[in-house]
Symmetry: D4
Subunit: 207 residues, 8 copies
């Protein structure tokens, strides 16, 4: 809580009761920032909601203590439509902090006109999140079109040579576009948190 | 140049003449931002300087068109002293953009008091760069002590199970501290560029 | 049996009859130490029990010939709640040898106060087991807070960059905290056995 | 020889005499196509020349029995200047078969205008070779700008996350641009041979 | 569309509606070339067909706007019968462009007479596609028997040391037969597209 | 210092002055335990000695503040003679803490009589360190012959399939002998520290 | 057929009809040696039997044209009981060639007395097959106890650090026992074929 | 010694004195079979010779107690000339046991006629050793042309995608030719020992 960054409970592998209790524990600390329950199955959602009223349902899961609207222009790009669930997780974390995002899907570099059509948005964004699997080339291209911070999320979408996201992870961290940063495979939550950290100056510091 | 992010010439594998010409090419574009020559050997430095007057020597190599002082509190932490060359590369890129940094070396988590002694600096930083090899745990710990953006640089220092930086790269991207971002192995230049992108709001946007 | 270390039958891939027979074979050797049946499904448990009376049910499976209480202060820490099943396997092996353990879950380094709150327990332990997945940083941090032997267990919990436990395995063996030792991925059984070996001097040698 | 594809002697690890003899052996088969000696050190070149007169020196090494000029528009792109030696090896193999190439270096996707400036050449080429290290994104981008066959060569240039060319190899074979094909790491020779195979219809078949 | 290369929608991970809409979007661009829906489940096929009439069903999925017959002799070889689905995907892409193919299955090098029996076809082909899993040796052998372009497709068939296609991918890119090119694991679609690019000169250029 | 575990300065990558200063810094903290300078070159040794008098030279490097003799029976086994430098590093760390060790080299399992001849020593040891490269099988065999804690050190000795120690690392952590623990590749220092931690009960606790 | 080595149809991924036809194709070649159908599901077995009468059911699947009894002493050892299915596949291939085998399971090196009890059998065998997963140390130990050819089969049994057989594969090929040979992961069929090749001199050559 | 298989001292990493002493130790055991000193530098050879008279110099190093001529037809094939040093090591081990070998170099599958020209030799051999780097396809092809045991040696020759022999190691163990066995990367010594084991029946058993 002390960092002002989201406290989140990762549901897989926990019983519904454990989920509910974990959320309750975080909320017990007082109204210090959003609390999330991510990747939860219906029973986990239900148990958490029942014990902890006041949650909003988002693409990243349930959120308690969402923050009021805050400034910041966030652009989230995906290479394919299969990357959308991961992208939406980032969008939801940002929303919990009051930040709107523009999500543009399926602008992979195979058809370069698609990402070039986002040039103005790239130039105007305060932070850009790029979600891509397979060879993850979109991160390098997008970073060459903006001076804003670029947070790349490798995904496990696709098959074969994508190696469950490992190829994109390596490729993104090897990007020749200066200043690309990378989070873990399929970690839309982490990308959202990194964006929230980056937008702090626009919100007047820790909230 | 259009992104406002550093143009850099990476010297290894280029002849002194190629280095000099590459720098000249970038400078020919007009005074749009810093130009760097990185990881250059003495003959490369000499050739580049002779053809392109006005360079400053820094830890990241030669810099032309360095920008005037700019606001922003940057903290650069290293786990060991072997990580210093990579850290200094990041510091020099920031300096080319006018940003001062505080560099604190050798605060690896094996002696936790060392990083805990940096708590206040971590809390006050606008951006934190963590440079670490072997298991790279400092990134996770530092990120838990600040709400600022954390840019982690895995290094190839050490031996054996560090696998030339691959272990730290994997560990940092798998960090359980929400919002840690990672650049490539030994890529202090990239970390510096990412920090420059992140500090843009404090400088009044692209310069 | 000659080493005094647990004989265990690993159930997956065996028929219920094979499980029962394997236990019987070990018990036939006489009362030389605990015999365990681990990771058994209900039918395997049932068959083994029926043929070999006198078993106790534990988190690590069935135990025959558990030893009487023995001294030794064991601390088992987990980074997340998803690591609990592996941790409990270690606890159960220790219990079969008469050793009590204190199990503290969810003290991952992202919230450093959680592991710092265990400082006294760490200082007083005779042996510490650290169970963690993803980047496994808890092992390095815990080892810096105790002079006791530290046995780290990498787990396959989490997703993506954790690479099914490989990231934690590499990171833990690359730990910069001197003296961390590591067992196989998800091998709570092995960690328990290593702890039993370590505690031998406190029990007056082989039992 | 029967396939009409280059016979080449790979010099590293052979004595000067072995090089000379290997070339002699291939030439003994009669004038069936070019014979190359690649990656040879000066003594190897000298020994091979002395025993086998009539060689031309090229970027790929010595060539005997080079073929007369043949049609075909070949475009060779490199992401960085460090990729040039590999690119030149491909150019020289093509030259041995009578094919001219246009080599354009340093058009990596970090500055997208550089590859976009090659649009017309990409559209008009009969075959395109893309040579790139690190994340190798240029292959995907170039393939989206041409309907010609694209042969990608991953290189071991750069450092760290490029993993000596493995990252580019994986990324290029995972390319989301349909129809990108890939040869081995640093294998400019192989890319040249693949281009020669591809251009056969323009030369009136096997020569 | 601009490259004249197939636009394809990859169905896995998309809802039936998303599939139908994606196809509609590509068709909306006008009659510029074939549009494919690949690896679709029955519901996805149904939804796509209903919204977009005029599709033909092929081994690679549905095809709209298939092109009229075009010249070109294509030989597709597989090492085992398990490689057939991937091979058929390549055949179907070629068919969508009007190219016939000869598909010969189960000519793995363990029984060399099988591939030797294809010698004439190999010599006469304009392009050869080799589909093989495990050690993928068929690509090297076939390339030694033809001067035509060889496109190798590593597959994930088999078990154990085949490592889900990674072994064949590495082996094929390390082929000592000069000029073998490789696409991604199980990427029959990509191999088909590469063949279409290669056959362009025979069809009078982009269609 | 607080854990009572060795403070060590790892020399590679540091200037002689940095080595000397790092040692001085650790000694400044007062007489709390041994201080080591490891893997130092002659100039580094000289500089460190000159600035910090009172060092003893050991196989693990220089030691200051070595502790007086302490009880404990330590057996160090190596599979080959190439593993000796790593083994000696462990022996020296133990010596710095006052513990004698018996070092028996070249008892690899290819000649099983060699390790069987150590049976009595294995049975009587308080802790066993096994140093082995290539397939590292000695760890599993030794652990089956003792009830004492077994600390395995994978080494990078040998060539080829040993993969610079990675094979032994994986094999040792996958050991089917219950309770084998593993440190990093070539990390004799870490093995020595782990043994010191394990022997603490015999020395009357932290010293 | 020409090598006299088993023709086998690998059933997974084939339809029952494809299985039946593949067997029929091999049998059509005349009575040149055994024909096997391996890893077949019940429907595949049924279809193959119906179309091709005269099969015997074995652990490796159906066998047609089994050869009459032949000399040769074969010892098959497994480290655990989970390795039995792979071992039985080897035994069945040998049986198809008329060779009896002695199969001794569960003699892993953790309890060295188990393999030592097989000393005489090891000394007397004409060929030894060792089937083991996890760290695969049994191959090295067994090879040190016999002068006969040793064929090691790494298996994917176990979990975690065994990495689905990759650890055993690497360890076995890195064995320090001179002359250990290795087949693919879980490839009991291949081990059986290798043994058949090795026993040829005892049967009076190719049969 | 008890297995009748070569005792060998691997020189790299040993001092000349250690080499000499190790050989002396093995010879002290009496005339039980050949003793080898492999991969020794001139000073190591000299020291070993001086202390232990009676050695013969071979491609595998020095040999003491070579055995008299023994029957057996051994064929050693290499894919390239760069594989010769490894092949010669196998030949020398065989020679130490009295077995002659026929060594045929540079018959890689890229030019299939080269290996087909060895058909008769392959059919008549008692054992075949195949030495190959890069994709190692020669092992699969050769095994399809003989019913004799095939021992494959992956080598680290070549560059790039050969991954220092790992690609050939994986490919050879994944061979679809039934009965191929594999030793470690560059392990010509091991291949020679495996061949000696295989030829034992022809020599009248252990010698
Ligand atoms: N020290 C460095 N580390 C990482 N990337 C660098 C470094 N110096 C320059 N670069 C990047 O490398 C590319 C220049 O490569 P080149 O065209 O070969 O000079 C540019 O994308 C730079 O942003
Ligand atoms: N849960 C477990 N995790 C790891 N190893 C185990 C486990 N249970 C038993 N073992 C070990 O597995 C082996 C028994 O395998 P098996 O003979 O197949 O029953 C013994 O070496 C045990 O020490
Ligand atoms: N520069 C090169 N890169 C890759 N392969 C090459 C090169 N030069 C020759 N080759 C191939 O290497 C093989 C020759 O190897 P060797 O028999 O050792 O001379 C042939 O298959 C050539 O096609
Ligand atoms: N159980 C098995 N394990 C490994 N290889 C097998 C097995 N059964 C058959 N094979 C081999 O697989 C190939 C047959 O593949 P297919 O043509 O797909 O039936 C032949 O090379 C056989 O020698
Ligand atoms: Mg798309
Ligand atoms: Mg330090
Ligand atoms: Mg938690
Ligand atoms: Mg450049
Ligand atoms: Mg087949
Ligand atoms: Mg030895
Ligand atoms: Mg067992
Ligand atoms: Mg050759």
């Amino acid at each position: 809580r002390r960092t002002g960054i989201a406290e989140a409970v990762y549901a897989p592998g926990k019983s519904p009761e454990q989920c509910a209790a974990a959320v309750a524990g975080l909320l017990a600390g007082g109204p210090a920032g959003p609390v999330l329950l991510t990747r939860a199955a219906p029973e986990q959602v239900e148990a958490a909601r029942e014990r902890n009223p006041g949650a909003t349902e988002t693409a990243a899961g349930l959120v308690w203590h969402a923050l009021p609207p805050a400034p910041g222009t966030v652009l989230v790009l995906t290479a394919g439509t299969g990357d959308l669930p991961v992208a939406r997780e980032a969008v939801a974390v940002l929303a919990a902090y009051g930040h709107d995002s523009t999500l543009v899907a399926d602008v992979g570099v195979a058809g370069l006109h698609r990402v070039l059509a986002q040039r103005r948005r790239l130039a105007e964004a305060d932070v850009v999140i790029v979600v891509a699997g397979m060879e993850g080339a979109l991160a390098s291209v997008a970073a060459g079109l903006t001076g804003a911070p670029v947070i790349a999320v490798p995904t496990s979408t696709g098959y074969g040579s994508g190696l469950e996201g490992v190829t994109a992870l390596l490729a993104m961290t090897a990007s020749c576009s200066p200043g690309v940063t990378v989070v873990g495979i399929d970690n839309g939550f982490g990308a959202g948190c990194a964006a929230v950290r980056t937008l702090r100056p626009l919100t007047g510091g820790p909230r």
